[in-house]
């Protein structure tokens, strides 16, 4: 293929990306470097402010816990799906994909009905006499975490199941015939082989939770803000556009750092797996 025609094919996309993404990003984010007393002082101020720091820490905490829970629940489930026969695999995969295709407003709304003061959990607790008055579940960090797990668990399962499907049954059987028990065979053979999928799933869940807007807004409320909801609040309610831009860049940097970190971890685990082999 001629260079000139390849060039023509990529240019329209690059032009739109430049005008509608890169240029706006630069125009809005770069000026934040120069606001305040010295270079990057707006960023130093952000991390000095205990209220801002609390929101930052909450966001990271929610993302870390959500990722761990999604891995713990998603990896065995993905393994289960990958070992089913073709018919069941199709059904279970569809059941996992369905929530992903359903709007996140709906999926968060479901948890308002479950966790609210008049919700299912609280009415059960009251009826059974365990508590006298409703327990505050909604508008807490716990609600954001459970909503985020609910949002991203299907993504984890589908991503990991896709990788595990390609690992043949004979791998497990070989490990078993060589004397490993099932758990050991899973940990020593299946798990390392599906690590690339688990890492990709981890990146998707972590960055997704870190930047999610809908779930923290609906389940966390105004008192339990995370970075994404905080951007909106700074810009729209307070009119602090510079502050919103500062938070924007922080989110982008953390996202990039997490992706790099996960990939570095994957490379290291891969090498260690090789040493054992």
């Amino acid at each position: 293929m001629k260079k000139s025609s390849a060039f023509i094919m990529v240019v329209p996309g690059l032009v739109i990306l430049a005008i509608c993404l890169f240029l706006p990003l630069l125009r809005v984010l770069v000026p934040t470097f120069y606001t305040g007393d010295y270079l990057f002082s707006a960023y130093a101020d952000f991390f000095k402010d205990s209220y801002y720091l609390k929101i930052f820490v909450r966001t990271v905490k929610v993302a870390v816990i959500t990722t761990i829970v999604c891995m713990a629940a998603g990896v065995p489930t993905a393994y289960f799906i990958s070992r089913c026969d073709k018919k069941w695999r199709g059904i279970l995969l569809s059941v996992s994909i369905f929530p992903m295709m359903t709007n996140s407003v709906i999926r968060s709304f479901a948890w308002i009905n479950i966790l609210g003061s008049n919700g299912i959990v609280n009415r059960f607790l009251m009826m059974s006499g365990l508590v006298d008055k409703p327990v505050k579940l909604l508008y807490t960090d716990f609600a954001i975490i459970i909503g985020s797990v609910y949002l991203f668990l299907p993504l984890m399962i589908v991503t990991v199941a896709g990788v595990m499907e390609n690992i043949g049954d004979d791998m497990m059987e070989a490990a078993l015939s060589l004397g490993a028990d099932r758990l050991k065979a899973f940990m020593k053979v299946i798990f390392p082989m599906s690590l690339p999928g688990i890492i990709v799933g981890g990146i998707l869940v972590f960055t997704g939770t870190l930047t999610a807007y809908t779930t923290p807004q609906l389940l966390g409320g105004n008192k339990n803000m995370v970075l994404a909801t905080f951007i909106y609040q700074r810009a729209m309610s307070v009119g602090d556009w510079n502050g919103a831009a500062v938070i924007s860049l922080i989110m982008i940097v953390v996202t990039l750092a997490v992706i790099k970190g996960f990939n570095a971890l994957a490379a290291r685990l891969d090498k260690r797996g090789g040493d054992h082999a």
Binding site: M1, K3, S5, A6, F7, I8, M9, V10, P12, G13, L14, I16, L17, C20, L23, P24, L25, V28, A73, P76, Y79, F80, I81, G90, L93, S94, V95, I97, F98, P99, M101, N103, S104, I106, R107, F109, A110, N113, I114, I120, L153, V158, T159, A161, G162, D169, T211, A212, Y213, T214, A228, I231, Y232, A235, M236, W241, A245, S248, I252, I259
Partner: protein
């Protein structure tokens, strides 16, 4: 293969966790009272009537369809040639170019909406609808690049070269040989991009204005001020459409096409 009972039980619990909340919503949509209750006391479809009676829902639904469709079509028009060039040419910096095309996935949706609102809408005075479309283009483009790209990676380009040697022009070969061979990838990219654009909220949060509001944003707004089964009824309608779409995809492309 013999199944581990513990693993089976665990997987069942996980699936109950994923599905039960959606079943609860579905049941509450048919309750009569204006407070959401589960289980329901009396059966009614009046909240479904309310869904179709609400003007803001109707208008924003049409807006969302327009935005999702336009954004997806533009992403396909721009993305298919780009994915082809990335897969086919020995261009220098292919890897870098690909990451440029996928870069919208690294920028959080709320940030895309925020910078587009500030730059396109406030500074350049571009209409909000166009800004919203630009934002949703950023949602749809990576799906096209990724899904069409992976189907091009599996395509045997010697078929295209055979067409050339038989006298077909480069353009002719692209349209008559390459495109027909990647239609399933294009369809999958279309579905994924469309659904994700339609469902997207963060990008649209800033990019709304008089008469311009997406359906999920309107729904979210409604939830924050009202708490009645109308939203449950909307959910049931949307879930029914989703099931229908998934059945169509399963019959044509296989449901795994949506797992990308």
């Amino acid at each position: 293969m013999r199944k581990n009972k513990l693993l089976t039980a665990f997987a069942i619990l996980v699936f109950v966790f994923m599905i039960a909340p959606l079943i609860i919503i579905t049941v509450t949509a048919f309750g009569e009272g204006s407070a959401i209750t589960f289980p329901i006391k009396t059966f009614s479809v009046k909240w479904f009537v309310n869904v179709f009676a609400l003007k803001s829902f109707r208008i924003s639904f049409v807006t969302s369809l327009e935005i999702a469709l336009l954004a997806t079509v533009i992403a396909l028009l721009v993305g298919i040639p780009a994915a082809y060039a990335l897969a086919r040419s020995g261009m220098k910096g292919r890897g870098f170019l690909k990451s440029v095309f996928l870069s919208p996935t690294i920028v959080p949706g709320i940030v895309i909406g925020f910078v587009l609102y500030q730059f396109l809408v406030l500074t350049l005075k571009i209409p909000v609808f166009v800004g919203l479309l630009a934002g949703h283009f950023m949602v749809t483009l990576p799906y096209v690049i990724r899904v069409v790209g992976s189907s091009l990676d599996q395509f045997d380009f010697s078929v295209e070269e055979a067409a050339w040697s038989l006298g077909c022009t480069k353009t002719g070969a692209f349209f008559r040989v390459v495109l027909p061979n990647i239609t399933s990838g294009i369809s999958a990219a279309f579905m994924l991009a469309f659904i994700n654009s339609f469902n997207n909220i963060p990008v649209s949060m800033f990019l709304s204005g008089p008469g311009v509001s997406t359906f999920p944003a309107t729904l979210m707004n409604y939830i924050e001020y009202n708490y009645d089964p109308t939203v449950s009824a909307v959910s049931v309608v949307l879930m029914a459409v989703t099931v229908l779409l998934m059945v169509i995809v399963d019959k044509t492309l296989g449901v795994a096409a949506l797992a990308k």
